[in-house]
Assembly symmetry: D2
Homo-oligomer: 379 residues x 4
């Protein structure tokens, strides 16, 4: 029999849905010792959290996250609220001895993240950050290919996360739906929202970033603010790009924007090694592009791998070859790995400390863009 693991969810937005779906599905597709139980959902608005809880089958609700954290019947706290609330909740949850699953980016700044790391390490509570794209099967396969040594010496890494949803200058900022445009709530714009994902994957696949040089831009300088009702200065970065050098000597470019017309969520990476190259793209997340120079010359070409076979990462748990899975499955995989790690005593990555290193890169980006100079990334 599976052991219940009681989840207390804080937040009910996009990520609240994505995580709840993962908790509900994971045991149907993965054989695990633990089984998440949707114990309680928490948000300030009783009406809204009640509706959310009913929809997803949470057994109870709370309107004060402190109450949720105090509850004895909660094993895991899942933090799905704006970035500015992560630290306070996570530290309190750690002190209450709860396991913590926190949305990304871990915090708004490195120092804020460090306090969170110290809290979970002091309390020794299992912790994880929802950098979900590591568990897209094609991405996990890329990691395996790299770890198998197929690429040889790495020369280049490049990554983009391009969207186009904020081009309209009439779009307001702030409030429940648009907190990502409010610098107070989000900490930064595309840097923390999108590049954080790109950097998490990059360092997982290609090791630490040594130094970088960034530029940012805010194309629309003022937007109406939903909380104040007034037109206010936009504090976030609409776009950010940076050059980087990894510790392994490879050169790199990263770019993110919400002003790339035609790209809804074009998250890509490409890595060029001495012997082979890999490329991936979220818009067709079930495919991995692979080029191997060791193939016979006349039939050498980029291979489009349809990552849907039983021997591809995670795919043996789903359907049959040729039938693709989607975005939401990355969360199911992350929950599966977390639960599996819990059973085995080897916790799934990325944990808070790993996510803290990503935060240090984000800090270096913001500093570099501001000071217009190269910045070493803190080790």
């Amino acid at each position: 029999m599976t052991k219940p693991l009681n989840v207390g969810m804080i937040g009910y937005g996009f990520m609240g849905r994505a995580h709840s779906n993962a908790y509900r599905k994971v045991n149907h597709f993965f054989d695990l010792e633990y089984r998440p139980v949707l114990k309680a959902a928490c948000a300030r608005s009783a009406d809204k959290v009640k509706a959310f809880a009913d929809k997803w089958g949470y057994e109870s609700i709370e309107t004060d996250w402190r109450k949720l954290i105090e509850r004895k019947d909660i094993d895991v706290v899942d933090i799905c609220v704006p970035n500015n609330l992560h630290a306070e909740i996570a530290i309190a949850a750690a002190e209450a001895g709860k396991m913590i699953l926190c949305e990304k980016p871990l915090a708004r700044t490195g120092p804020e993240a460090l306090r969170m790391v110290e809290a979970v390490e002091k309390s020794k509570v299992p912790n994880m950050v929802w950098y979900n794209y590591r568990r897209v099967p094609a991405v996990t396969l890329a990691k395996k290919i790299i770890d198998d040594g197929k690429l040889g010496r790495i020369f280049h890494y490049r990554s983009q996360f391009l969207q186009d949803w904020t081009i309209n200058p009439e779009l307001p900022q702030g409030g429940t739906a648009l907190w990502r445009l409010d610098v107070e709530a989000a900490g930064s714009g595309v840097t923390g929202d999108l590049l954080a994902h790109a950097i998490d994957l990059a360092m997982w696949l290609n090791g630490p970033i040594a130094e970088l040089n960034a530029m940012t831009e805010t194309f629309v300088k003022e937007r109406k603010h939903n909380l104040t009702g007034k037109v206010e200065k936009v504090g976030i970065d609409d776009a950010c790009a940076f050059l980087a050098r990894f510790q392994n000597g490879s050169l790199s470019l990263f770019e993110s924007t919400r002003y790339a017309r035609g790209h809804k969520a074009l998250f890509t990476f490409e890595i060029n090694g001495e012997h082979a190259s890999i490329a991936w793209d979220l818009h067709d997340l079930h495919r991995l592009q692979y080029f191997d120079h060791r193939d016979e010359g006349i039939v050498r070409g980029w291979r489009s791998i349809h990552v849907s076979d039983g021997d591809h990462p995670y795919m043996g748990n789903w359907w049959v070859p040729g039938l693709q899975i989607g975005y939401e499955h990355s969360f199911v995989h992350q929950v599966a790995d977390f639960l599996d790690g819990l059973a085995k005593g080897t916790l799934a990555q990325p944990d808070f400390r790993t996510a803290y290193h990503t935060q240090l890169v984000l800090d270096a980006i913001m500093a570099s863009a501001k000071e217009r100079s190269w910045k070493k990334v803190e080790a």
Copy 2:
């Protein structure tokens, strides 16, 4: 509050999983009056059905489908067993007044299917056949584009369903896992398994087929049979292709095989109209290709539509633009439409009668291939 609708599932294989997943997810993503309740799962092997029921949360099990049908607490019977069992179960279920959701193809032959149609129509029970691909959002969008009249007069329709999983002659036939290779259980090979899907979509999108001319082939003539342990003649068609004319005057080619090396499940259709054309491919099911001749000449080209926006069919219920869904969601959509139809009194298609017409095309294919001549399709 949602009204419960008690489901009795017969079978626990691939489709048992796909449907169970749909029942469990549908109310999390769609606002519906009804809510499926996993009441009972049924299969001959008590051990296996027990494991399946535990995994998916079915409240009880049965080992005799007649018992399941008799149960008062079952509203809907879901038939997920090999094709040779569909008719007997469905007719009995209809007589017992149960709603019926039956896997495709409806039956092994037209006459067998007709008995099923008569049974459900006599009993007036809601009924539906799991031709799930109609509810892939890109396919539903294709239907909408056609219904909007964007294509004009139709000249061509073509469709393929290509796989490569039976090339190995050592693969046996028959038994639980490989009943699709056993003509007694399946009725036919790729014709009933794969072309049935292609024909269902074709007639939904392009109207009735008037006549056709088919050829079939069995590349591997003998395989070990799992039920007898002996090498036996293979009775199914490994490949089937046919020419067709639709009632609307368009010309058509269909092809299906399990011997197309490199194609795991390449299910495609393309329709060419006077003004515009559409193409789709299951390997990238979240995309629709669209060409509109009325676009300005110098910037005219095939558009690759990433069907993931809120105004695309079904997609407003899932994530955000750019984030794709997968194969399993087509079943969730079909359940949602069935439940919605139930509430509104307008039952979701395809029902048994519609699926019977597909069966008549399958019969015409087999007759044409055998007699090497054109066959009219019965109206």
Copy 3:
């Protein structure tokens, strides 16, 4: 020093240009014993052929093809006129002892073609038919891959040639520019114009076709005729599709049309073997798709080969890897091979006899479509 080979060109249309370009370029890129010399161009209209000759540097003109054939200073006659004139000219040229390069299809019917074959074989004059697509480097590479045995037993061959330029019913038929729509001049519609190419490649790559079953359609039944000025019945086939079985046991589908909106000249073939598959598409003629099942499972996928390396067929004579060539180069390669064969005494294919076999397939198609039955292809 290269030896001159005096060319007499009959016709000045699209193919006249394509061939003239090939003659002028071939020695700049290929080291050959022979060098084509543009000796004379011939057409009924003195003005038009003069302009053509000036443009391309033909040394003289003729307005009667019989005069051209009689000229002692002509070594090779190149026939670029409508299909209904091929036989008479070719037979006369053969009798005059000229080498003959004839546009495709060789003739309007098999018997007409046979007379041409007999004439050149009797006169023992070198002869060739301009099935140029064999010399697109990606296609030549496909042939090499097949000849190397990489595919194993062949299960399927499919080919399309889809265009969309005659959808407009106001387009007239007949005359210089539109003789392809006039059955008297062309013999047939898409069958002789487009499927002829598809069949030439198919039999080159996959061997003889044993039997076939075809359908044809004329979507626009009447068009104004440019020669008579009246609306007249359209005698050609606008679309044609057929099922076929090759002598090697593989199953096949062919389709051609000029009513596939969005496809300018989508000429494709795909061949599925036991171990590997190949696909090609004229719209991106410099790429070959290749799938090899013997690749390691987790990194297996269709390879997109950019056929532009020095070790790819013909490509060592052009630029550097990554830089593509285009349509016209296929003619250059065919001339190069013809000249090389001439020097070595092993004539380049396809010659008239080979093209006659293609003609027999075309005849079988027309007969099958008319009689609505399977037809064996004459050996």
Copy 4:
């Protein structure tokens, strides 16, 4: 009758062939007042230049470029030698009153280029630099789309030129074939060779670059030198990437390398505007990707434009829709435009002055990479 324009070609390498081919073909496909005549070819090695002249039909040879420039029968000097020789030849040719067509980059540095600009402007001789990619029809179409105002405000421009041919550390540097790896001959590595093209297109399409921040890398530090026979330090940049801001406020990333395994000559650009976006890729140079947000929402997608219609730039002069041209045609178009400009008195771009501005960007790149700081680009 066309007027002859006598060409004196200096060099006989890759570019010598590409330009000679263009001179020979241009009048067959374009109606022009002028006709290039291949008057003389010049190189130090009499044997080699003789072979080249014979191959391409140059009427005479020279072994001293000073002699060539002095010849009265030469109208145009075409400079196809390594970069370090451009300035001296071009300045002497200008002083001799010759028109000059110079390979790119114009020079090794801005000051060197400026002397060349001053020479041609003083002598008032027509001059042009072979930034050939402007005349790939898809690229010219992109320019037209931009000039038509379809994009609106520009937010982003990105460009790559990725190759993989120098990964092997055993590849030597220097000499005739490999002068591009010798810093003395080339001036720089990928920056002058590849990024120069990317920058020329970028400034043509998107206006001047205001400032940039670059990094460069030399992955293989030492290579055998073909001129000395010794292993020597590699002075060129193997890879270069930079961030930039255009004067129009758009943000930009550029990258170039010869170490991107799998990319033979992947030259791309993408431009994102308020209303529409454009992308192009040399590996499929006959296609242009176009996204227009003003398309109806549910059928909105990236359009793959097959740039082969009669109303596409230059394409009316070639074949028929669907039939692609290749790399070499960009040179034919540039010659056509040069000759046409000559006849009309409006000289084709880019001329030396325009190419000098590209040179200033190259200088800024090298300075920025060395000093690790942002650099304004000289206006």
